[in-house]
């Protein structure tokens, strides 16, 4: 797809070995994109194939996906492929979608509206859906906590990532704070976590967008050990230093040099 104007948002679906499970994902993405275009937004649509298997490539080669750009990468790392796709994309905002998750239909429309409103107020904002609904392997709901909520405490970030990686983010945030790739098992979750902390430390405000949902497929719940490994790494981030964590996400107080 070629757009002569700067797209408002680049929707980037990342896939590696998924096939038909992407059917519901892509249908949800198309519905959300259709809704965004109906609101007059320009949307760039990208399928980022990272070392895709033959079956995955074949799946996305279907004619029905011809309205999506298909970009090939050989990064073998979700963080790096996201960074690479950001570099190549042109939207003002970036919306990632993992190949087995689903957007609510209003996610892009409402998310762009929140980011645009914040930009008008001069705030630097990253938008999250109000809810993450986990399905398939046991159901649960993650209610995102707004940074301005009285429930928010930066110390919690020692224990768990506040923010899921499927957010709507101004391009410059991703450019300034690329995902790191670390050689640790299941490193992606840590990459999200680090992005969450470092973006807060750099003064970005994480806000939630009312009435929007991202549905996340969860097969494997046995991540306890990896999670504890990640906790030990998180403590080493400069922004999580014991004398600095208090200021994390206090907009106006944070060190811009973190």
């Amino acid at each position: 797809m070629t757009e002569s104007v700067t797209p408002d948002v680049s929707v980037i679906v990342t896939a590696h070995s998924e096939t038909v499970v992407c059917g519901p994902t892509m249908r949800s993405a198309d519905l959300a994109i259709e809704a965004a275009r109906a609101h007059g937004y320009v949307v760039e649509t990208v399928i980022a194939l990272d070392g895709a298997t033959d079956e995955t490539r074949e799946y996305f080669d279907q004619q029905r996906y011809d309205h999506w750009d298909r970009w090939d990468f050989q990064e073998a790392d979700l963080g790096r492929v996201r960074n690479a796709a950001v570099t190549r994309s042109t939207g003002r905002y970036i919306a990632f979608l993992d190949a087995d998750d689903l957007f609510s239909e209003n996610w892009l429309v409402e998310g762009i509206a929140v980011l645009d409103a914040a930009a008008r107020d001069g705030r630097r904002v990253i938008a999250h859906p109000e809810l993450n609904v986990m399905f398939d392997g046991g159901n649960s709901v993650l209610v995102h906590i707004d940074q301005s909520s009285p429930l928010f405490t930066p110390w919690f970030a020692y224990l768990r990532n506040y923010h899921d990686s499927l957010c709507l983010t101004p391009r410059e945030a991703h450019v300034a704070i690329p995902y790191v790739s670390r050689d640790i098992p299941n490193g992606l979750s840590f990459q999200d976590w680090q992005f969450s902390i470092e973006s807060m430390a750099a003064g970005w405000e994480h806000v939630l967008v009312r009435d929007t949902i991202i549905f996340k497929r969860r097969r494997d719940a046995s991540l306890g050990q990896e999670s504890s490994n990640r906790r030990s790494i998180v403590r080493k981030l400069p922004a999580m230093a014991i004398d600095r964590v208090h200021d994390l996400a206090r907009v106006g107080k944070a060190s811009e040099t973190a």
Binding site: V20, C22, G23, P24, R27, E58, Y59, D61, Q62, R64
Partner: protein
Amino acid sequence: MSRVRHVAARVRRTSRATGASQRGLGPEVAERLRWCVHPRLYLAQLTAEERAALGPAPDIDAIADHYLTVGAAKGLRVCAFFHPQTYADRLAADGLTVPDGEVPFLHWLQVGWDKQVVPTPLFDDAWYLEHHPALRTHPRWIFHHFLTRGCYQPQWVPSPAGRHHGGGPDDDAVHRQDPLLLPELLHRADEHDLRQSSWLEAGVIAVLAKRERVQSAAMQEQIAKAAELEPGVHAPLRVELPSIAPPHAHLGTRMAGELAAARRDRSLDVVDTVVLVPHCRMSGAARVAGELTAALSAINGEGSVAVVATDLPVFERPGLFPDGVPVVDLAHRMVGLAQPARRDLLDGFLRRLRPRRIIVVNSLLGWQLFAEAGRELAKVADLGAYLFTWEVDEHGHRYGFPVGPLQQSLEHLSWVLFDSQRLRTELVERYLMPPATRDRLHFLRTPLATVEADATGVLERRRAAGEPVRVLWAGRFDRQKRFDLVVEIARLMPEVEIQAWGKPVLADVDLDPADLPANTRLMGVYDGFAQLPLDDVDLLLYTSAWDGIPNVVLEGAQSGLPIVASAVGGVPEVIKPATGYLVAAVDDPAAYVAEIRALLADPAGAARKAAVLRDQVHRDFTMDHYRAALRRILGEGAQA
């Protein structure tokens, strides 16, 4: 007179009408006896004639009665937790013996119980309390807790030798007084004198003896030396876990025994195709499984197919499957086993049969096996599945085999069969399937059952004769079948009588039988469509909220009944404006009423539609078509 004969004589004097023949023991001891009665263990020691005399499902009192009058004198065991040798040994440790001529078990009930002598190797009171500290406040002897509760629930661990069972729950076990460990107790029953001991008790005694050896001076010396190097070996501050000692008290041994027995039962060696079904009782899916099995037998020859029931130990209708097809009740052999043992048992069973094909037809365990071990299994056999419909939960959300299980297994499946075009199309669209995937999904019209009924002309005759209108409805009375709509329709059409066939389990649909309108008649269960009084009804009403292509609609169509049906699932593939009366507003009773009135307003038109429908289904839903299509899908060419 020996004590037991004395008791028995008193028992015989006691009227059965008081319902407590064991009252001869005194109320307290009689109550203890009732707690101890384990019918399955007792029945396993009786001869076939004795069992027959007790009737099909004798209750606790009947067993207790039989024990007191017959079994006690013969030394039979009525209680899984009374082991004569253990009782004798433990009594002897207290300087006591059972007096000559007395029945040890009755002695224990009257004497040993009060002295709190545990008469079984299966229970260790100190272990039980240590592992379940909340029971320290149990108001009675702790053994009473295990006897009346612990042995029926999987979470209680009664002994250093563990739970003694596979860990699977059984909510009904407490009502049947069927301790969860009975399958293990009855394992290899032919090798043990159940009056004295069993595979399980011998095994637990062996485990306890092995544990005892660890206390020997030689072993203790070795342990002490190791603890010098690694103090952690004593796991200080932690509670000990149960010991495991194959072959006794070992799950694999029971599983292997069950597998061998299942194969022996049906003389199975190698089988070409295995069809996995949930149970062996009547249902729409079961009928399709029967047709599939018959077709496979015809294609690959006699002896090539076996059916395996995997989920529920219900074995009512082996006749659903053709003669010569072995039907294995594997579910019965897995009673009490938890996951992943159940899955592994099925996996092991299938691998021994070395089938070329494995087909899942609504077997939950089969779908689970495909999802979790499909990759390996697909290397040795073609995996196939049959899908009919999703289900809907009470919140209106869809679930079932076409939702989660299909997604988890699809990559391992060589093909999937559908009884309606509708579900296949829905899945192709939902997953935006590429041709390579789509081509593995096949719609097959299920062949008609061999029903001779012919209701042609009945509607016109009954209308011409001015007989009262009678509507036929048949199905399970559950949420899916929407019997609540039938009730509403009856209220809106007081002039019409609705005959409802099927098992009236009204609790499922939240209806009070006393509240049913007078023109709704519950006709009871029916055994096949041919049994229904088709000459006495004007039309078939079908109200389900979801379905594939339902049998009852096919059978109604086949017999020439005019049909009013909800437009759900595959129904519109059969009932169309030209062939019947389709209700689009499937939740609205008035919409059904409107279609019924339209039908009744033009009997000749309705009869014409029914005739067209009858022709169509007889032409399209044939055995020949089905088998030819199946042969193509399986790549079996045109032989046989």
